[in-house]
Symmetry: C2
Subunit: 453 residues, 2 copies
């Protein structure tokens, strides 16, 4: 990898104390890469590199570092450096950083920021997690509605570098109500004397401070935006969410969905940074709940105890089919529920589609159940040498199980959505557990009727 070479060259410069060359080499790198490089250094080298970077670059690099290294670095720098750093960072990055740091470090940082910044940070920390307010930034470019294009451009040239983005700017009236958005590409092509209201797009898409971050990110994606304005209840502009933050939200929400779909409590941290205790704790509740649910399936078997005891070899043959029935039923159900959960998340299916979807899934279930039933019937006759009645009972159970699994798999996520639960909870583990019980009830029902009566 190129990165290995770059890394060893930089280390070489650090070890040789060749600071001027090092500074030159660092400026050839992207801030994300500088942050990555700094994480591999010991405290003193990290501090040296941090201090040799221009103030604006070091603030950006700091924002990309991991919380552990941020904490380490803050412990090494002086109070005035902390103040300069926090003032230079974008507010949303500063807030993100503070949310990850231990309380005593946060206290020291806040004590060393200007009162205005401190007030803003405290206000931000009050937005509930996972809302637009909690992920927005206040460093956006705004124009008053009486500006001309020239005035707008002048204000951008003056303050533009401190904004998180100036590619979409916003027009507000004297009461800060959001009136429209202006793309910089239109601004630079407009006549200098044109009023800004002529250049702006008044069909501006916005979200509210308390909107869920997932719906904010979905809106950014749907409309292909660079940034989306965040307004309060009176449509006053209070912040923006940029597309790079929206992307991170999408990945975060996808991870959370995956975790919920696999019997895990969602976790915020990377796997290797989570303690073993925490890992176990996040997994226990669902495992316990599903194990207790599975004992109900066990009760079905106990209920048919006499059947099994008196059926001899046929009883064992039926028992040997339990893994096939339960496994196939669970997989068939997860397939359907996965498509529903994803379809609901992406807005491709809606609650009103339930009847149509159910009818589709039943037909799919009939087709798949038929194929799998026939394959299984032939296997039992040819390979296991069972009588055809037993084979037919098992094949029939498989057929009905697959149809039931498809029907449950598509309706349960919808049902969860209907009662305001996350559809992702109705994924493989839950569906599998329910289908397990259903499949055994079907098999023993058919068996006691046709085989052992």
């Amino acid at each position: 990898m190129d990165w290995e070479i770059i890394h060893s060259r930089l280390m070489h410069l650090i070890e040789g104390g060749r600071r001027t060359e090092l500074r030159g080499a660092l400026m050839m790198l992207n801030v994300v890469d500088i942050a990555q490089f700094m994480q591999s250094l010991d405290g003193q080298s990290m501090l040296m590199v941090f201090r040799m970077l221009p103030k604006d670059v070091s603030a950006e690099v700091f924002a990309y570092m991991e919380p552990e290294q941020q904490e380490q670095l803050i412990g090494l720098i002086g109070d005035s450096e902390i103040r300069a750093l926090i003032d230079e960072m974008f507010l949303d990055d500063a807030v993100d950083t503070l949310e990850e740091l231990p309380a005593n470090v946060v206290k020291r940082v806040l004590a060393n920021t200007s009162p205005e910044t401190r007030a803003l940070i405290n206000q931000f920390l009050q937005y509930p997690d996972y809302t637009a307010g909690s992920i927005m930034t206040i460093e956006f470019a705004e124009f008053h509605s009486n500006y001309t294009v020239r005035q707008a451009m002048d204000s951008l040239r003056k303050t533009g570098l401190d904004k998180e983005t100036i590619y979409t700017c916003y027009v507000i009236d004297e009461k800060r109500h959001l009136m429209g958005s202006v793309a910089l590409r239109h601004l630079i092509m407009a006549e200098d004397d044109a009023p800004i209201t002529e250049v702006m797009d008044s069909a501006v898409i916005s979200v509210r401070t308390l909107d869920d971050q997932e719906s904010v990110a979905d809106t950014v994606r749907k409309y292909d935006l660079i940034a989306i304005p965040v307004v309060d209840n009176e449509n006053r502009l209070v912040g923006i969410v940029t597309v790079d933050d929206a992307m991170d939200v999408i990945e975060e929400e996808n991870t959370e969905d995956l975790e919920k779909m696999n019997a895990l409590l969602p976790s915020e941290d990377e796997y290797l940074k989570t303690s073993v205790w925490r890992l176990a704790w996040n997994r226990l509740p669902w495992l316990l709940f599903l194990m207790i649910t599975a004992t109900l399936t066990g009760l079905i078997i106990t209920y048919y105890e006499d059947v099994l005891l008196n059926a001899g070899a046929i009883g064992v043959a039926l028992t040997a089919c339990i893994p096939i029935l339960m496994g196939t039923g669970g997989n068939a159900g997860s397939q359907a529920s996965t498509l529903m959960i994803r379809g609901l998340a992406l807005g491709e299916v809606e609650l009103k589609d339930i009847p149509r979807i159910l009818w589709r899934e039943i037909r799919v279930g009939v087709m798949l159940g038929a194929v799998l039933g026939v394959v299984n019937f032939l296997r039992m006759i040819w390979l296991n040498g069972l009588d055809w009645v037993t084979a037919l009972v098992v094949a029939g159970s498989l057929f009905l199980t697959v149809i039931m699994a498809k029907a449950l798999g598509c309706t349960l996520p919808m049902f969860a959505k209907k009662i305001n639960l996350d559809p992702a909870l109705m994924a493989s583990p839950m569906i599998t557990t329910l289908v397990d019980a259903g499949s055994l009830a079907i098999m023993f029902g058919l068996a006691s009727r046709f085989l052992l009566g």
Copy 2:
């Protein structure tokens, strides 16, 4: 919903034939919403709306329409309108559209485009699916390295509206080699006479035409880019991928991973647009494969046939525990494999971490297995009134099963990655099937040793 009101007002204007008002109302909407509105119209109204929009707006709206409606509309408009439409569209959108349309429609469209556009489209269609080349666009802003800032701004003002983005522009030498990138925000703040090479950032991150689209999107996300340049093997600039397309790739890849993780062949289309046959076909291979694998688990039961037949009530008690063992083992394994698959996808864990991860998972397994085993032991003693030896055998099996499940769940995705398979294949269905067999082998092994010997 607001949308319902907007929709009914627009329908009202259409039905009343109030074209001028309709045009005014439409221009208040975002192109994505206009596209959504047009899809609800019959052919003639759709055509009317399409024709009343300005050319550049109608091309953008068309790009956001669904393939069925695009096809319908192309069938309704004349040859010269087709040519104007395709020429107005961004090349990547035109290519995306053509890839979805039936061959005869594509033929008609291509016959009506200019020879240059046709050549470009054909060249694009040749990039393999899922590569940077297949998702890039050629409408980017480039500056020659001898430009001044003024020349660069002039060229942007002249051609900027035809570019997909001008917020990141690229500097090339006379042989089209990529030399650096220029953010528009820096450009508008630079001195007019400064050479462009002074404003540009030479630490530019780029990808190659044949790079996988997923790694392209990940790079855009990692570096928070608005666009990423695509270069050929000789580092010549050939296109860019913008952040909105990268976001779509991320959602697409997440869907694909979810499908693979749940025994589905990946599908390109939305659920409700996929035929029932296709749905069944995408699900059959894995169901069949996993069912056949599950028969091996059945063989384990058959192998212990004598044990079950001679053990009477204990045999039934063991049988009743099969769903609990298999279910809990499968869930415990999926938890571990999910975290591995996601960690590998996001680059949070690597192959070299295997020993460390395995040791973590074994400890997690011991903790969880102990809790679940004890709960199950108490249930069997108190609720089911079983003797303590049987209860101990089942609890011990559960303990060992959970540990085995964790170990398999974390190593198999890593192993898949090692042999260049997609780790997502080693998710719940596969892990569950393997753990099913393992858990029964453990239980019958312990039972025949301690209970029935």
